[in-house]
Symmetry: D2
């Protein structure tokens, strides 16, 4: 199948490689050309505009940073929308807003094209190992059409509905729940520390009993050690996803006080200059407000 | 070894049975005598006061509801304190306050006795299957002295410090983190529901990807179904533990805004008459405040 | 002086009348023409576009609903920007975002025009009685240029800085503080009611002792009586201003947990269908979550 | 009338003086004897125990720090309860818990005595000038019995119910509302400061328009200047009253999220060592979390 891939960052690059390795005929595009050129020797064609990547494709995948980046890729005059052939399918893997996912569905339909949302859970290493979890939503036929591709980049695909935006909502909920883990651990470790309980001992108990999910292990280690660099997922990105879940909740008229609390943490973290740290650095606020010297 | 056990409720009864089965010489006491009598045929001696259960014991275990109940068992004139021989060891398995654990340590020392805190994670079924997790703290020698017993009732014992109160704090932190899961899921499912995402589909994604810990599975099912009866752990008990963690945090001067948020949920749930439900029924507040008919 | 006025709603109409009565040569524009026609007999010229109202004006006043409405009035091809003569002054009285005020300053400068922000505190009755409080900010010379006009519509003008956005920020802070009064009273009356204290008795004490400001009197009465109609200021407008203060705070990296709490109240109120009520109806949430039958 | 007064601190002393000046026959008691001796030359009798002050009195007034202090004064073996003649009236002016006020009513009734709660709003200067506001509650006949006395110490008495506890609740609500003003101003000034708006200019606008109540003026000045010493009302006292209102609300099953938020501020302030400052110093938390150098 002819595939276009737009966006060769930490997530897009390993996905592209896996799709090439799986024998697909791939055209890649990246705003910074040099990241695309690497794929030439692996057999990919290099496009100079998003539209060029889409022009010949059955399926065009987009893996970019946010709504804004995707808007440019889709709507600019060299963009996907004008170039993708009628009947073509755009599969959006980026973590974008629910509202934008709805708009993409509508606008592709106007162009007799199709749109499926397929955001993923997993870090770059998981992308490289094809161990991502894919959350997909869209018309059944179109989801099936890309299910082979999604199977190449991830270990499992969950289909959560026929409206593409549903997949984006589920992804945002997942990230919201991670932030509740971050804040919960932050408060817990602040309490433990000031009460004379060894943070690593607490972590061992938590992850050895009720909280066996890797997310507690990964972030618990960082928070117990108060070490938030290098960042796996930078704080401003976490803040962006918090903003998106709150926007979706406002639109649906659902108060989410925990998400509000986390929002205030992100804002305080920005005020303190932590934007280069991992998003789990919001834990420094719990430490600071408990009078613990946070070493920063 | 001669063991006394005080408190034969849902947790104490299966523990007693396991200790008898393991060949220990057990004396039991329960306020409601009938629950104790059952153990006579299994070979246990029946005490008519807490003090009687403690009088001959090397180790006296207490498994009662709260600070108040334990205070009576220990300090009443037929209580443990007066009866336990010098050198005897009191192992407290109840979920009590950090402050009371400290007091117990001090008062037993005055009587030349010993005190170890050993609260547990796990429900009655886990107690029956000896699959509890035990969190123990106290003087090393005393913890070792009861480690065999703890090994009989649980699958694993974590020793978290030499101050008994440390174990109680860790237990309370564990329960606090469960409440953050409850509230996080409550807000998530309210958002999903109002956005047209099937709750069970969301649950499948969450527990199949990032949130594999059983706690998400167990409570996610209840919240997705909005079915909170029969109660595994009643709402007022959850509220009590929330109160205890907030008390410990206030004493240590640690603000815990998430615990405060959960506190307000518990209070609202009491106001709405949900005290017979499982503590996960705080999720009804998220539904209600989002205008979802909560069917109650 | 030749004055243009754009926006003849509940606030703009009485302002226009006061300016005409003060002898100014006034041209009015309103999207719904009929509201403008009324002013013809009072001696005003009627413009058919915003630009027409601005074309001859020394000073053009805008009194519209929000950023969006003002954007149209300013930037549309029949708008102020193209029509206002060089050296002309735009005085914006609407409650708009801090970011948009900044943009207005910049864009008017590009057109060699001037911009002053002058939002007001006060309800329509205060506007009719020329008892508004005006919060003005902008270049000193320009503020002085319009100070006579502002003196006609209000009882006092506070000049808060040379950056127009400062006035908008102060206005938003004022409205934020009103919402803290609303929520504070809501929680207080819920507690009083459930504790057997007569709400009106409580109100009498509060407003007779520490809380003599009219805002406590006005809203206290509504909340004590749980009567939120007719609306003086509709709930969605309050929600809009909450959104604007949170946006300003996010941009400035200032966490505002009370504003976040109020935001969740507004969202819940929307979920419960209270959008036609006064913004003080967020008090119904406190009643509801305390199990008080809120009669709605 | 024969009056006993117990507690001659900053509030009790000026009250005693005013009552002596009004011609009443006064017996005083203070734990630290020296503060009582001062009143001998003014014509007061000095008691050496609370009971002695109550023994001859028609009415015994108590003006002590908290529940604990009042408990000692009432229940100790030299206390009021045993000494006050049948038919005697205890008027409690201290800010105590709702629960304790209920208990006092009951226990005095058992002794055929009477109890009226009459806490006050106002600082020591207001007490000296007899400008306090008195909030009274109790049986109508008993409130009337002491209304003359209350008229001597304050400028106005509000009778809020026949249950003594009602007065204590109203007092706690008043203090709660002050804390919402503190936190509201704290967030407002943090935002203003980081946005380039002069704090004193903002204060001038707020207190000159919507927020004319003295409480905004008094605390606004302190927060604008970030100067919290000398303390008018120390932070731990504010925290105590916050604890009492939350306890009353929990008992009545009323969630008060704003009070919870303020609680977390008080705890953080204690963690940062601000206990000698005025309670308005919780504003430092808003500054800190916004990255403003709080100069402490």
């Amino acid at each position: 199948m002819k595939i276009g891939i737009i966006g060769l960052g930490n997530m897009g690059s390993p996905m592209a490689r896996n799709l090439i390795d799986a024998g697909h005929q791939v055209t890649v595009y990246n705003r910074t050309r040099s990241r695309a050129d690497i794929f030439a020797e692996a057999g990919a064609s290099i496009a100079t505009t998003p539209g060029q990547a889409a022009a010949q494709a059955d399926i065009i995948l987009t893996v970019v940073a946010d709504d804004h980046a995707l808007e440019e890729v889709v709507f600019s005059h060299d963009g996907i929308l004008e170039a993708l052939p009628a009947g073509g399918l755009h599969v959006g893997l980026s973590t974008i807003s629910v509202a934008f996912a709805r708009r993409l569905k509508d606008v592709h339909r106007e162009y007799s094209q199709h749109y499926v949302s397929a955001p993923v859970f997993g870090r770059p290493e998981a992308a490289a190992a094809a161990k991502l979890f894919v959350i997909a939503a869209g018309e059944q036929q179109q989801v099936e059409r890309c299910s082979g591709l999604l199977g190449v980049i991830g270990q499992k695909t969950f289909v959560v509905g026929t409206e593409p935006a549903a997949a984006n909502l589920v992804k945002l909920i997942g990230n919201f729940l991670i932030t509740t883990v971050l804040e919960g651990l932050a408060e817990s470790f602040a309490l433990a520390r000031k009460s004379g309980v060894e943070p690593l001992k607490l972590l061992e108990v938590l992850t050895g009993t009720l909280f066996t999910a890797p997310v507690y292990q990964t972030y618990g280690k960082m928070i117990a050690a108060q070490k938030f660099e290098p960042a796996g997922f930078k704080l401003p990105l976490g803040m962006k996803d918090n903003r998106l879940v709150l926007a979706a909740a406002e639109e649906a008229a659902v108060p989410m006080p925990m998400a509000s609390l986390v929002r205030d943490r992100f804002i305080a973290a920005m005020a303190l200059g932590l934007s280069e740290m991992d998003w789990s650095a919001i834990a420094l606020l719990s430490a600071r407000n408990a009078g613990i010297d946070p070493k920063f």
